[in-house]
Symmetry: C2
Subunit: 149 residues, 2 copies
């Protein structure tokens, strides 16, 4: 058994992109954009900064994705009146109308991946993945040069 988190996660990430780009092409959204959409289905009206934190993604990537989703009619933005630096991002009616179909495609992917694997083991995998992500959120593994303090 291969014990490299890096390799396994790399394969899953890249194939996930390829699969979802195809599966979601009918919805005119990409694998990277769907992460923003699902976050906003859960809670919209939040700003880009919070969205970036939620997804653990660079704010530049968020800016680009939201701009694209706005063009495609999935989200709209309004300036926050009490903090005019911030955009509030909302899911459009159109996006809501596509929700069920999009989740169906996401579900198919997870079902395919976890097919024939015991449910309790899958559960444990989710738990461990979540805890590893929590470690990342809490604080990065510090990297020092050997001769710096």
């Amino acid at each position: 058994m291969n014990k490299s988190v890096g390799r396994l996660v790399s394969v899953l990430y890249r194939k996930n992109q390829v699969y979802l780009d195809i599966a979601l092409s009918a919805y005119n959204i990409t694998a990277s954009e769907v992460a923003f959409i699902t976050a906003l289905y859960r809670k919209d009206g939040i700003n880009q900064e919070l969205l970036s934190q939620t997804l653990n993604i660079d704010k530049a990537a968020t800016a680009k994705a939201i701009k694209s989703l706005e063009t495609k009619g999935y989200v709209y933005r309004t300036k926050n009146a009490s903090d005019r630096r911030a955009n509030m991002i909302f899911i459009s009616e159109y996006a809501r109308s596509q929700k069920r179909g999009i989740y169906k495609e996401l579900g198919k992917w997870t079902d395919f991946l976890t097919r024939d694997i015991e449910a309790d083991k899958v559960e444990t995998m989710f738990e461990v993945l979540n805890r590893m992500v929590e470690h990342l959120e809490k604080g990065f593994l510090p990297v020092w040069d050997d001769d710096e303090i």
Copy 2:
């Protein structure tokens, strides 16, 4: 608990890249290159096609990574005499001399991620990730338009 393989794997993949790019900068290699190096530590003399299959990565990405690693002195290539299309890729002596240090950095990352998580759960996570990758290797989830066959 978040049950999206996509989101979790995405965070782990991207942070892994950022961390390793820093941690391995002393070795003049990147996070993506180190995957090729470790595969070649395990078995070198193989061609790019097999390397691509082993890492589940596009052959174009392999070509570019190997070219870069060759420039950096980590690998060298010789034409396979019995199949002159194919390159045989070998780890250099220099690469071997860096092996221990590189694995140390990789180990620090895994240790950080799995810190304070029960060993048997980590084991189960590896098992499930491996089986999911096997599903990918066996065959892609087919995608059809609803009105095709």
